[in-house]
């Protein structure tokens, strides 16, 4: 128990225990990996109905421009990210990357233009270093507020819209990546139509003292089940989404990670605000010329899951490794194993057959187009 007591708790911790969750340490928090329903059924329920995830361990950070003009906050943030933040319309959100001097990634995040300030959601394990990075980069232009105390709930799946709009009707009018302040039964929330499962859905930021009440309100809907980190991982893997620390990190560039779509025209060569972020020469050079290796989907031909860390070979015998698996497991919706990893550009064409070393055996895997399961975002 001493182990558990050293871990941080989200505002929904008591609810997880009440629901019978199996708790595990994750990024310094005591988090639910699964509920009595189990990973498989939780995954499938999210794809067919709606799943409620506690993602309060993630870091919420506000940037308030000292000038009062949110564009100034955006331009300051652009010094540490290759994303077009200044071009983001009010009430809109996009995916972002923090880069390092060698073109690698320090974290991935979401950023929203909230009219008079920017609102960021960053990864739990990176949030303190992200905060320090942001403070150094933007403190002349912005006041930075870490809101690590707040709750963050994700409601994901085809019935998420019906479930949320039953208590917050305006949620139905939002489209993918819209962000709005919504009063839900007297609770002030910031709702974005986004998530990390490949499904339509929402992320809802709520004051810590309201988080439990909001979660219970959503779980009262018979279409909604509580979903743990286990299914969150299999859902994002099927959706081809990167997990920071596994699929992307300080040694992977946006081009290598197949995340060039996250770098808008304004920040690219001949764009109106070209470069000006850490690693810009490497990153823009790879955008123009391509990278030597690439993140791809991998479909094992057999039934055995191929996990992160497995080495990839070009042939069934001998030779040196040509790459490695970064995430892998079983895809409950596909009823088959799924994986992602890095391979040389020459071996990155879908259909290319490679071999993964699993417990000393070379198992055939085929390069696959991502995502494995098509996303259902409401654009």
């Amino acid at each position: 128990m001493t182990h558990t007591e050293e871990l941080l708790k989200t505002p929904l911790h008591a609810l997880h225990l009440e629901l019978g969750a199996r708790m595990v340490p994750f990024a310094g928090y005591d988090m639910p990996v699964q509920y009595p329903l189990g990973v498989m059924k939780e995954h499938l329920h999210t794809r067919s109905h709606a799943g409620l995830f506690d993602v309060s361990h993630m870091g919420q950070i506000l940037l308030r421009p000292k000038s009062g003009d949110v564009r100034d906050a955006a331009l300051a943030l652009e010094t540490i990210t290759p994303v077009d933040v200044a071009g983001l319309g009010e009430g809109r959100q996009r995916y972002g990357l923090f880069t390092n001097e060698t073109g690698g990634l320090k974290d991935d995040f979401m950023v929203a233009n909230r009219g008079d300030h920017l609102y960021l959601v960053v990864n739990a394990a990176c949030k303190h270093q992200d905060l320090a990075l942001i403070e150094v980069a933007v403190s002349d232009a912005c006041d930075v507020e870490a809101r690590f105390d707040r709750g963050l709930l994700a409601l994901q799946g085809p019935m998420a819209e019906d479930a949320l709009s039953a208590i917050a009707p305006e949620a139905a009018d939002m489209r993918f990546m819209d962000v709005r302040l919504i009063d839900i039964k007297g609770m002030e929330t910031v709702v974005s139509r986004s998530g990390y499962t490949g499904e339509d859905g929402y992320e809802i930021s709520v004051a810590a003292e309201d988080a439990d009440r909001l979660a219970r309100l959503l779980l009262d809907d018979e279409r909604v089940e509580a979903i743990g980190l286990g299914a969150r991982d299999s859902l994002r893997l099927e959706a081809g989404l990167c997990l920071y620390g596994n699929d992307i990190g300080p040694d992977t560039t946006p081009a290598e990670a197949a995340l060039t779509w996250a770098i808008q025209k304004a920040r690219r060569g001949d764009g109106e605000r070209e470069g000006g972020f850490p690693g810009d020469r490497v990153i823009l050079g790879q955008l123009a010329r391509g990278a030597d290796r690439k993140r791809v989907g991998l479909s094992p031909e057999g039934k055995a899951p191929v996990r992160g860390g497995a080495r990839l070979f070009a042939g069934a015998e001998g030779g040196e490794p040509v790459g490695a698996v970064t995430s892998g497991g079983f895809g409950p919706s596909l009823e088959a194993p799924v994986a992602m990893g890095y391979v040389p550009a020459a071996l990155s064409e879908p259909g290319t057959r490679l071999y993964a070393d699993v417990r000393g055996k070379r198992l055939p895997v085929v390069v696959a187009t991502l995502p494995f399961v098509p996303n259902t975002y409401k654009r």
């Binding site: 498989m40 059924k41 286990g230 299914a231 055995a304 497991g329 079983f330």
Partner: protein, 120 residues
């Protein structure tokens, strides 16, 4: 005679052949199984050898050979449908039959009461 190991395997011993599987407690801890790899019939293991691998959605785990012996049969049904291990771990979810090198080795294993107190 029903025996258990500290690694959460059960053995149903009939003469010099033990039917081996994983306990209900182990199956619950592992969660939904999606893949089982069984040993070849005729292969021999020492006690503690890695005789099988099971994979849940999240992770892979080894199933150890509980005593020294030779594999004389395997349950192909759990290869086709790994969820049998979750739904009926001590029945239809058995893994393999082991011809014991020395049946008296089984005396050192846990009985049901000792195993139940282990998992508390």
């Amino acid at each position: 005679m029903l025996k258990f190991t500290e690694d959460h395997e059960w053995l149903k011993i009939d003469g010099d052949v033990a039917t081996v599987g994983i306990t209900a407690h182990a199956a619950e801890q592992l969660g939904d199984l999606v893949f089982v790899e069984l040993p070849d019939v005729g292969s021999r293991f020492e006690k503690g050898g890695e005789a099988s691998t099971v994979e849940s959605v999240k992770a892979a785990s080894d199933v150890y050979c509980p005593l020294a012996g030779e594999i004389v049969a395997v349950n192909e049904d759990i290869v086709g449908d790994p969820s049998l291990v979750n739904t009926d771990p001590t029945g239809a979810g058995w893994f393999f039959k082991l011809k014991l090198a020395d049946p008296s080795d089984a005396d050192a294993l846990l009985d049901e009461a000792a195993y139940n107190s282990l998992i508390g």
